[in-house]
């Protein structure tokens, strides 16, 4: 209440928040012509907004999207039956149901080979180096590597979650 009249916020609440009516505001409205007129003005303004024309895309969105869905899967566009055509398109967009695991296996084996070969060849030298370094330093190196790896994994997980949340499915 300001200068004996309702504040702008109270007037808006009175008009647009019917579930929790402020009884004092309601009572004030019955007796105060000034606030009643202000409320009516708000209603007048926003009734006009309700009637404003709505924007529309100046292209056929439905056609564009459906064409793109088909383009992303040539099998779908060649398929004469639109009902059958959509199924591979969904799989294409969602990713195939059975993923090809061979590239992953090959990359993993190559990585093991690249790291394992020098370790195997220079195992004696590595053991000598480790034996020369104190236990404390060894633990420090291991801890640092583990912490960096944990940070990277956490960061990737955070990015993944952010992307999923931005879809909010």
């Amino acid at each position: 209440m300001k200068n004996g009249h309702l504040t702008d916020e109270m007037i808006q609440e009175f008009i647009w928040s019917s579930e929790n009516p402020d009884l004092s505001a309601r009572a004030h409205m019955l007796t105060c012509e000034h606030c009643k007129t202000r409320a009516e003005n708000y209603q007048l303004l926003f009734t006009e907004i309700e009637q404003l024309s709505k924007p529309a895309f100046n292209f056929d969105l439905s056609k564009l999207v459906l064409n793109q869905v088909m383009e992303q899967n040539p099998v779908a566009s060649l398929n004469a039956d639109p009902l059958l055509a959509t199924i591979p398109a969904i799989e294409k967009l969602n990713g195939p149901r059975r993923k090809n695991i061979w590239p992953g296996i090959i990359i993993t084996l190559m990585t093991i080979g690249l790291i394992g070969t020098p370790v195997y060849l220079f195992l004696d030298s590595i053991q000598d180096i480790i034996s020369e370094v104190s236990t404390m330093v060894t633990y420090l190196i291991i801890m640092t590597v583990v912490l960096i790896a944990a940070f990277l994994v956490f960061d990737e997980y955070r990015k993944y979650n952010h992307q999923i949340n931005s879809l909010d499915i």
Binding site: K2, T7, D8, E9, Q12, W16, S17, H34, T37, R38, E40, N41, Y42, L44, L45, F46, E48, I49, E50, Q51, L52, S53, K54, P55, A56, F57, F59, L61, S62, L64, V65, L66, Q68, V69, P82, L83, L84, A85, T86, I87, A89, I90, L93, N94, S166, L167, D168, I169
Partner: protein
């Protein structure tokens, strides 16, 4: 059967049809919801080319994730949520943060209760709002910060509830009410300022 459950039934039928391979049903979903998506895209994104790409991107996401839709809200609300998030991501890619969405043209103006340009008198307000033309009103809405004009449009033009707008924007109801209050007040003040300038 009430209106909401009718909507829900219709949503379920359409989603089921799309998931069983009916492309035409997805076309129908687009036709049913593109008005709401257009409102969000037009309010948050200014560039026409970007709007076209975004609108397509929104529906491709909808198509790809339709099987994950859990019917916890109306299908249109879920699609609008994807549209809103896609627009926000686009703005973030262009280095525009959510705080930029609060900055409109009349940034320096104080919108407190003490500041009523041209009107201590509600009679003047009545006169201004009665002779208000739709074109001027549209211009003044466009001048609002993007987030505010989106909220005004969703609440007053699309007649969505606080709950639905909350789902779309991810804003808590209290924050949403506060933003809407500021947006309405800003719009009213700007209209009165315009009137005052025209009078001078």
């Amino acid at each position: 059967m009430n209106h909401i459950s009718e909507n829900n039934e219709s949503d379920r039928r359409l989603v089921k049809s799309v998931l069983s391979g009916d492309t035409q049903a997805f076309g129908k979903i687009i036709k049913n919801t593109e008005g709401l998506v257009a409102q969000i895209v037009f309010k948050l994104v200014e560039n026409r080319e970007d709007r076209r790409d975004l609108a397509q991107d929104v529906y491709l996401k909808v198509f790809a994730n339709l099987s994950g839709f859990k019917f916890q809200s109306k299908l249109s609300t879920w699609i609008a949520q994807i549209a809103y998030n896609t627009c926000i991501s686009q703005l973030q890619k262009k280095k525009l943060s959510l705080t930029d969405l609060f900055q409109g043209e009349n940034e320096g103006i104080e919108y407190s209760d003490n500041h009523h340009p041209a009107s201590a008198d509600p009679e003047i307000e009545t006169m201004v709002f009665q002779k208000q033309q739709a074109a001027i009103l549209k211009i003044e809405i466009e001048k609002l910060p993007p987030l505010f004009k989106t909220l005004i449009t969703l609440f007053h033009n699309e007649q969505l509830s606080y709950e639905e707008i909350g789902i779309i924007t991810g804003l808590p109801t209290g924050t949403l009410r506060s933003y809407l209050f500021r947006a309405r007040k800003m719009l009213k003040t700007n209209l009165l300022l315009r009137y005052k300038k025209e009078e001078l």
